[in-house]
Amino acid sequence: MDKAERLALFQMWFSDTIPHNKALGLKVIDARRGFASMQLEWREEFVGNPETGVLAGGPLTAMLDGCCGMAVATMLKEPMPFATLDLRIDYAKPATPGKTVIAEAECYRITSSVAFTRAFAHHGDTKDPIAAAAGTFMLGTKGQVTQAQSIGAETKI
């Protein structure tokens, strides 16, 4: 499977078939083992302050949660249901109105029960973040495994 095919699969299972990610228009731009990246286009309905056009925290929270989850999925050699246990977001500076936001997430440690992730959101310069996130995920939660949670095994990433 080449990179374009792999990204198309990630786009399908992490955005097009997850209603909220699709509603945000999240686009998968990179995925490799332990790493995931997505982008969010600025839209009027994502604005928290109509006078400045600055994004609300919500779209960033949802994007960072999704991106951290995708980084976890790349680490799973066997498909397994998982769920966010906690998520911390530090809002470092306001997003610039009209500009695309990029999220990059890393899953830096995975155990039999828990996966640990970190992520940043920025406008293209990782050294100048809009937000930083730390998320932990509980592995082996109840329910059926989703295609998104099977992607590590499916792409052998």
């Binding site: 209603p19 928290g48 302050n49 109509p50 609300a56 911390r88």
Partner: protein
């Protein structure tokens, strides 16, 4: 004065607290609005299909729960405290306790500590049973700050 603070002044006169959300495009889009029918200020996120994060369970996307807890904290600060500025969020930590089913989510918030510049807020979200929260959050907000201070709202 910002449109949101103007709206707050109108809402204080009319008592129609739900109209606070109309000044925030993201709150309108997400169908998140405050209500005080019970005498307590609560924030409701009305269920709609775009909130789903897991179609298999099905369950509401964790990011939307974080978003509505943040909005609940903001509405609480606007309504219950004598703020002269729109609170600016510094950070939020969300704990996910249960998967959220495809129905409305309701949240309450309370100030844990009010400082001169910084406020610490706790918020809690539930669905049908308030004693079984689906998520809780702690957040910090700057309530008086210079223009170059952080974040979003």
């Amino acid at each position: 004065m910002s449109a949101l603070l103007e709206r707050l002044a109108q809402v204080r006169k009319s008592g129609d607290v739900g109209r606070l959300a109309e000044a925030i495009p993201y709150a309108r889009w997400m169908k998140i609005a405050p209500e005080n029918g019970t005498g307590e200020l609560l924030t409701r996120m009305r269920y709609h299909g775009d909130l789903i994060g897991n179609t298999f369970l099905p369950a509401i996307h964790g990011g939307t729960l974080g978003a509505m807890l943040e909005m609940a904290a903001i509405f609480h600060l606007l309504w219950e405290t004598e703020t002269e500025t729109v609170p600016k969020i510094v950070n939020i930590t969300v704990d996910y306790l249960r998967s959220a089913r495809p129905v409305d989510v309701i949240a309450s918030a309370k100030v844990t500590k009010q400082g001169r510049r910084m406020v610490n807020v706790f918020a809690e979200a539930w669905q049908d049973d308030r004693s079984k929260p689906v998520a809780t959050a702690n957040a910090h907000f700057l309530v008086k700050s210079s223009d170059d201070a952080p974040p979003s709202l």
